[in-house]
Amino acid sequence: METVAGSVGPARTEPVRPGKAIPVGSPRRSLWKRLAGPQNNTLWFWVFVGPFVVGLVAFVVVPIVWSLWLSLFEARNTLSPTEFVGLRNYGDMLTDPAFRSSLQTFVAFAAFIVPLTFACSLSLALLVNRARVARTLFRSVFFIPVACSYVVASLIWKVSIFNGVRFGLANTVLRALGFEGRQWLSRPDPPLYWVVIVSERLWLQVGFYMLLFLAGLQRIPAVLYEAASVDGASRGWQTFRHITFPQLRATSAAVLVLLLISAFQAFDEFYNLLVNAGASSYPPYARPPLVYLYYVALGRQQDFGHGSAGAVILTLIIATFTLIQGRLLGFGRRESYG
């Protein structure tokens, strides 16, 4: 335990140190007097920002540092490991076929969900933006699934829509059209479970991104459209291609990266759709990274060493995505820090 605190300590206090040191430096006046004085901006800054920084350090920075440390040890069933293994856990993870296949699952999932959600939410935004009657009503209808949780949506999708055996809306519709019913979730081949997973997430998310696009559409100056119609551009495709879509560049970039990051964190719907009833075992297919980590690090094996190594690898991947987002949105430029 002592070693843990020792290794975590420096990283923990570093950002706080300058502020903490200053109030100690003027011990003559009482705290209240110093707060009341006009010149104590440093103290006031830490009164306002301190609680947040302490929480962030305790529950974001320390866990990451700890997991970096754990990832260098053999740590099965223990949080205070003693056997240092260096980078072996990382090597194990990167060569572990199950971990690599979880990354492939993410790639396959993202390849479906990102473009689909992007296209659907943009189309809905364009349609709603054109509607002049009942526009708020349509916006609300498309947005309201956001209020639904993945657990509840999974229940509806699993039991009521994509139920494999006899009942279920999807198979009823298929049979009415003269096709056979399908086993949607229980077979990896053909991988029809993607239809279930992707349609559920699409339903839950589209409204959120539609709102972002609607906000973007409203920021496009009307003058541009007037100019285009003077220039003889036809309404519809031409204006969309040459005005609307280019004007939505920043929104589109933000939506794409938000979609990518949220796909990376997918857990709820996979877990709730695919865990076998009763047996509480997860099938060997369709395991995205977080599901894999959940079972490796927190499952029966409690393998925190390998789990932490996996978490660090995933964190690096996500950080890369976010940095790309930063570049695309201009977060990295100085002026955006104000």
């Binding site: 300058p18 509607a131 509480s280």
Partner: protein, 283 residues
């Protein structure tokens, strides 16, 4: 858009197509909600009947009190847990993030920018990826199966602090200066002048936080392991994946579980929309 639209048969046809597509899409979006209510008011037999019917043959309103009275399902208990966790998490998150945002935006301090950039840097690490180490920390300090374990670790949202900072940067400085001249301290200025004049941003961040907290699954699944500490999502998930779930009760319980957010959505729609828009734009 204020332009004059062409009239005539082509325009009418265009409008008809537009509304046709919108109405079809709207019906598709509402079907899952209909199924939730339909199944909740059916009998168990009817849900699993081989010939699927759009309308149940009789409405079983008795299913509702049955769920609430069911002793083997701690559903009311899980609802109570969800209310406690979501309310406290939202209040706590908004409180600390708004103060941090104000401090970063308005209080001059030599290292202010460094602190802000450090906070932004943690945005690169989404909470979901750190669930393994966070779980390790929380179990180490003995917070498993406790409200503080469910609430505190997810209460510090760098993005919320960022949104508040961006908002407070645009807050009218004259109001704050007037307050200072009237003799208010920094805290007094913030609490009596800034906060009451910023209700919109508070409502926006609070409603987005509340939705996320109410619907959260992975963290409550890890931390609230004992039955008494299940949130409503964990309870529903456990019954969905149990050996032979009573389907009607499960659907009724799910409908009840999304009700608070649906009501909140109708009442607070303006703020939720604002919150979502800010989430995407980042300020």
């Amino acid at each position: 858009m204020a332009e004059v639209r062409p009239t005539g048969p082509r325009a009418v046809a265009g409008a008809a197509a537009l509304y046709g597509v919108l109405i079809i899409a709207a019906v598709l979006f509402l079907i899952p909600f209909y199924l939730l209510v339909r199944n909740g008011l059916s009998t168990d037999l009817e849900i699993s009947a081989p010939d699927w019917k759009l309308f149940p043959s009789s409405l079983q309103f008795g299913n509702v009190p049955e769920v609430l009275d069911n002793r083997s399902i701690p559903f009311l208990r899980s609802l109570r847990n969800s209310v406690i966790v979501s309310v406290l998490q939202t209040a706590g998150a908004v409180f600390v993030a708004s103060m941090a945002g104000y401090g970063l935006a308005r209080i001059p301090y030599r290292y202010s920018k460094a602190v802000f950039v450090s906070i932004l840097a943690t945005l690169m690490i989404p909470a979901a990826v750190t669930f393994v180490p966070s779980f390790v920390i929380v179990s180490k300090i003995g917070w498993l199966n406790s409200y503080q374990g469910l609430i505190v670790p997810v209460m510090f949202q760098a993005f919320a602090a960022f949104l508040f900072r961006q908002y407070f940067l645009g807050f009218p400085l004259e109001l704050e200066e007037a307050a200072r001249i009237d003799g208010l301290s920094t805290w007094g200025t913030y609490w009596r002048i800034v906060v009451p004049n910023s209700k919109g941003i508070f409502a926006a961040v609070a409603s987005i936080t509340f939705i996320a907290s109410w619907n959260a699954f992975l963290w409550p699944l890890l931390v609230g392991r004992d039955q008494e500490m299940w949130t409503v999502q964990v309870a529903l998930s456990t019954f969905l994946n149990s050996q032979s779930p009573q389907m009607t009760q499960l659907f009724v319980a799910s409908a009840i579980a999304i009700l608070p957010l649906l009501v909140g959505f109708v009442v607070l729609q303006r703020y939720i929309v604002e919150g979502v828009e800010r989430t995407g734009i980042g300020g």
